[in-house]
């Protein structure tokens, strides 16, 4: 090969790089390992982390994933293909994405879906930018974002949109219900608002009055951005049917549809909207069409919105999205079907209700909000959550998320707890018993138990 090129050594191929810029050996990088050696190391590390029973939800949910989902998704033909730029050589991925878009519009009752964004948080940021672009009746760049939206999502949205002059206005929540009281919106009546974000369920697991909120926004010429859990939608009214006219944009985290917890990623963000807004949508969109012989096929479409065509005038900078996660989600939804998805949602609802009942029987343990929830609840402990969670973690029970950092107004004692369909009665009973013991040991004093040494 060197001879064909006409050089003597491989080094000569780098002769256009100025010699004084060249680097030496990369000493800080360890020497090569064989597959067996790295396998041994990773096995040890994975075992270190994977021993706990998880009652944390807070945006990532521990659902059962049918065996076929990842066996199919990791087939080389899906796993090692790229963005379907050559449509004729990518009909597998393209048809699957079209089926995904169809399933997401069915679940959300919206007209159209894109082919995914990075995760729920960045999908919300893109939805906010999209709403500001799309709302022709509004001259403002103000978007109302309730404090019941996941605190990390609120930060991500701010971090992504603030350089584009979008103003995010925080809506407070009702301190007894844990929801947005529609009355609080009265303060904004008559003001120019581009969009209102409605989480359903909200970060506390509480159900929002989506119909009232949607109608208020539309009466005030604001668009509705629904932020939803797709599994919850098997039980709950879909955004396309909220209020008189339905939501305008719908987004959320796709992880509950077939993505393992996996330390927070890769997951995928979904984004759906009304047909009339489709040209403002960011990300890949797949369309059906015909080939030269009139045979149906699928292709990337509306590419004039995208960065590789429109460059600085694109609807977003997104290029690579989360195709493999969408592959898994599509197979996951096909395996569950409407009945299966509903059973998953109902089992989560039922388990969480059972767990909450069990926990609040303990002395001093209370449910913090009184409104209906889906599969998460804020639980108030008689002592600071931090020490209790540490003590329970030492028993390999992750009892929930400490809310004191993000919601100081709830005090130090509140945790957010979730029981998906994977949690067994035994695990929930064990959590209750261990919590009782920890509370009696602590008796309001700082934690005496230390987590296990690793």
């Amino acid at each position: 090969m060197l001879q064909a090129i006409g050089v003597g050594t491989v080094e000569q191929l780098f002769d256009e790089i100025p010699a004084d810029l060249r680097c030496g050996e990369l000493n800080a990088i360890p020497k090569a390992m064989s597959e067996m050696e790295i396998g041994r190391l990773m096995d040890t590390r994975a075992r270190q982390d994977g021993a706990a029973v998880c009652f944390i939800g807070a945006g990532a949910y521990d659902h059962h994933i049918p065996a076929a989902v990842w066996q199919l998704a990791t087939r080389g033909e899906f796993y090692t293909a790229y963005t379907p730029y050559q449509a004729e050589a990518s009909q597998g991925t393209l048809q699957l994405l079209y089926e995904y878009q169809s399933m997401m519009t069915a679940v959300t009752a919206m007209d159209v879906s894109n082919a995914s964004l990075y995760d729920g948080a960045s999908a919300l940021a893109e939805a906010v930018l999209m709403a500001v672009r799309a709302n022709r009746k509004s001259r403002s760049r103000r978007v109302l974002v309730p404090r019941t939206v996941h605190p990390h999502y609120r930060r991500v949205v701010r971090n992504i949109v603030h350089n584009q002059g979008v103003e995010l206005v925080e809506l407070p929540f009702d301190s007894t219900g844990g929801h947005i009281d529609p009355e609080t919106l009265a303060a904004f009546a008559g003001e120019d608002i581009a969009a209102l974000v409605i989480p359903q369920p909200n970060f506390f697991g509480v159900l929002e009055e989506v119909g009232l909120l949607t109608d208020w926004a539309h009466a005030n010429k604001a668009l509705i951005i629904a932020l939803v859990n797709p599994v919850a939608l098997a039980l709950l009214s879909p955004p396309g049917e909220w209020g008189e006219q339905g939501a305008d944009i719908c987004c959320g985290e796709g992880q509950p549809l077939g993505a393992p917890l996996s330390s927070g990623g890769p997951y995928f963000g979904f984004l759906c909207c009304r047909q009339t807004l489709v040209r403002q949508m960011p990300g890949r969109i797949i369309g059906g069409t015909l080939d030269l012989d009139g045979k149906p096929g699928y292709t990337l479409t509306l590419q004039a919105r995208e960065q590789h065509i429109r460059r600085s005038k694109a609807t977003s900078n997104i290029c690579t999205n989360q195709g493999l996660m969408v592959t898994a989600a599509t197979i996951h939804m096909a395996l569950l079907g409407p009945e299966g998805l509903e059973r998953v949602a109902a089992a989560c609802y039922d388990n969480t209700a059972w767990l909450v009942e069990s926990l609040i029987r303990l002395h001093g343990v209370e449910s913090r909000f009184d409104r209906p929830v889906f599969h998460e609840r804020v639980i108030q402990l008689p002592v600071a959550a931090k020490g209790v969670l540490r003590a329970l973690a030492a028993h390999n029970l992750l009892a929930g998320l400490d809310l004191s950092r993000d919601y100081p107004e709830l005090g130090d004692n509140c945790i957010l707890t979730c029981a998906t369909e994977r949690r067994t009665r035994e695990e929930m009973e064990s959590l209750t018993t261990k919590l009782e013991r920890v509370l009696s040991l602590q008796g309001g004093v700082p934690c005496q138990l230390q987590p296990k040494e690793w």
Binding site: Q95, S263, T301, C319, D350
Partner: protein, 486 residues
């Protein structure tokens, strides 16, 4: 092929895939409830498995085909990396699990940060951006935070060469900047004379890819870096082409202040039919305070998270949790298996393969866009002569390649070379595959002369023939609906 919906029959199920007991949901008030079930398909497990297995077979992929898609680095993705990232302990770790239950994962992330620092010559690395474009956003946002922290508000412009990826200008705009394009000179390098005229007190920074998307290494990079720095701007390195220089030259040593890497390219994590990627960012010392969170820090033998409260000047988080963690684990395994001795070999074989293809394609009669230049890990040929003389264009060549079982190179990018193919063979292809590709390229050139209709009507041997993109955009069909099949 029929849609999954067309196999659906009311009431059919894969009952073992969902809880057998029906949960009691009667306490949910009526106004919150869904009235009509979602129109998802109803199928047996076997139907689902067969449908998606068959669909997969309609794809070209690295595992099945040579995939020389320029700028995308379609190299082999080691199966071991996938298996180890999917160990049950890693899959089960909740992103909010306490540090006591995360030390194994965090050790991998810390070591990956350290390895990426070394490979790029940067001072610090954050792994959190989810893909290259989000890494670009993070990089430009850090540049903006830096200027703002100095009260230097007049810097409103980001300079971008005309050959840049579309994500560069789009990312700059998302950070609130105006974009100014810089032309390329006749040899494919940034036009330094033109650059000098636009540099000034409004310059926030420049976004460069080196080697550029033209497949050549910009030889005047040090001069460019000096001039941009003298004007008060910062340099952003688009790591899309990092594969070309791995272990040979480092962006930090070239004078860049911030870089993103595409781990799904350079570190061989799967492209997954369009993601997930991972786009970690590395920075020089002056941008370190602004790195996105979370990051992993080491304190003796313990690893701990750095979040907003540890990094008050950070541009913050860009995803709900820690980015595409599972992708990062795959990249970690890949880097450990290559090791310090394997990393430079990546650039060597990638460059060798590209130069070999370039040389042999020219022998076959193809025209190189920059014949005087060395190819890096990729190169451009232009079919302008064939388009003019034979009436067949680049897309016709690309589609005909598919008939012969090769994925097409990138077409019509970069935009400044007419009728171009951007070809990136990667280091994982053997000589026999490259020779087979060359043989087909020779055949297609012959067909273009003798039977041009074969190219214009291509592909002929795929599941569908050429698809009507115009129809797809005009008569939008974006979702199946129950009414459609009657």
């Amino acid at each position: 092929m029929s849609l999954i919906y067309q196999h659906s029959r009311p009431g059919r199920r894969a009952p073992g895939q969902a809880p057998l007991a029906k949960g009691d949901t009667t306490a949910i008030p009526e106004r919150f409830r869904r009235r009509v079930r979602a129109a998802l398909p109803e199928l047996s497990e076997m139907q689902v498995v067969r449908h998606y297995t068959r669909l997969s077979q309609k794809n070209f992929s690295i595992d099945t085909h040579f995939y020389p898609l320029g700028s995308c680095t379609m190299k082999y993705n080691p199966r071991g990396a996938n298996q180890l990232a999917m160990l049950p302990g890693f899959l089960a770790r909740h992103p909010e699990a306490p540090e006591t239950h995360s030390q194994g994962f965090m050790a991998c992330m810390y070591e990956l940060q350290e390895m990426l620092k070394e490979v790029t010559g940067m001072q610090a690395v954050s792994l959190s951006p989810a893909a290259g474009a989000q890494g670009e956003f993070a990089g430009v946002a850090m540049i903006r935070a830096y200027h703002e922290s100095r009260g230097d508000e007049a810097r409103r412009e980001i300079l971008v060469p005309d050959a840049a990826h579309g994500t560069n200008p789009a990312s700059a705009v998302m950070c609130g900047y105006q974009v100014r394009e810089i032309p390329t000179d006749a040899n494919g390098d940034v036009d330094v004379t033109a650059l000098k005229t636009v540099l000034g007190p409004r310059t926030a920074g420049i976004m460069l890819t080196n080697p550029s998307t033209l497949g050549v290494f910009d030889r005047r990079i040090r001069e460019i870096a000096n001039r941009v720095h003298e004007a008060g701007g910062l340099l952003y390195y688009d790591g899309a082409n990092l594969n070309a220089i791995l272990g040979k030259v480092r962006p930090g040593d070239m004078g860049f202040d911030v870089i993103h890497m595409n781990l799904h390219k350079t570190f061989s994590t799967p492209h997954g039919g369009g993601g997930p990627g991972a786009g970690p960012v590395g920075v020089s010392a002056r941008l370190q305070p602004y790195l996105p969170v979370p990051m992993v820090d080491r304190d003796g033998d313990d690893y701990r998270w750095l979040s907003e409260s540890d990094c008050p000047e950070s541009i913050g988080r860009l995803s709900a949790f820690a980015g595409n963690a599972g992708v990062l684990l795959r990249a970690y395994v890949y880097a450990r298996m290559l090791g310090r001795e394997g990393i430079p070999r990546v650039a060597e074989y990638a460059t060798l393969n590209a130069n070999y293809l370039l040389e042999r394609l020219q022998e076959l009669g193809y025209e190189a866009a920059y014949p005087e230049r060395r190819a890096t890990h990729e190169f451009i040929i232009t079919l302008r002569r064939q388009a003019r003389e034979l009436g067949v264009n680049t897309m016709d060549f690309a589609k005909r390649l598919l008939d012969y079982g090769f994925h097409a190179p990138t077409t019509y990018f970069p935009l400044l070379v007419p009728e171009c193919l951007l070809i990136e063979p990667t280091e994982t292809e053997d000589k026999e595959t490259l020779d087979a590709f060359l043989e087909v390229m020779g055949k297609i050139l012959e067909e273009a002369k003798t039977e041009p209709e074969l190219l214009k009507g291509a592909p002929h041997a795929l599941p569908v023939r050429r698809l009507d993109d115009v129809r797809a955009a005009r008569e939008l069909d974006l979702a199946w609906s129950p009414s459609r099949d009657g």
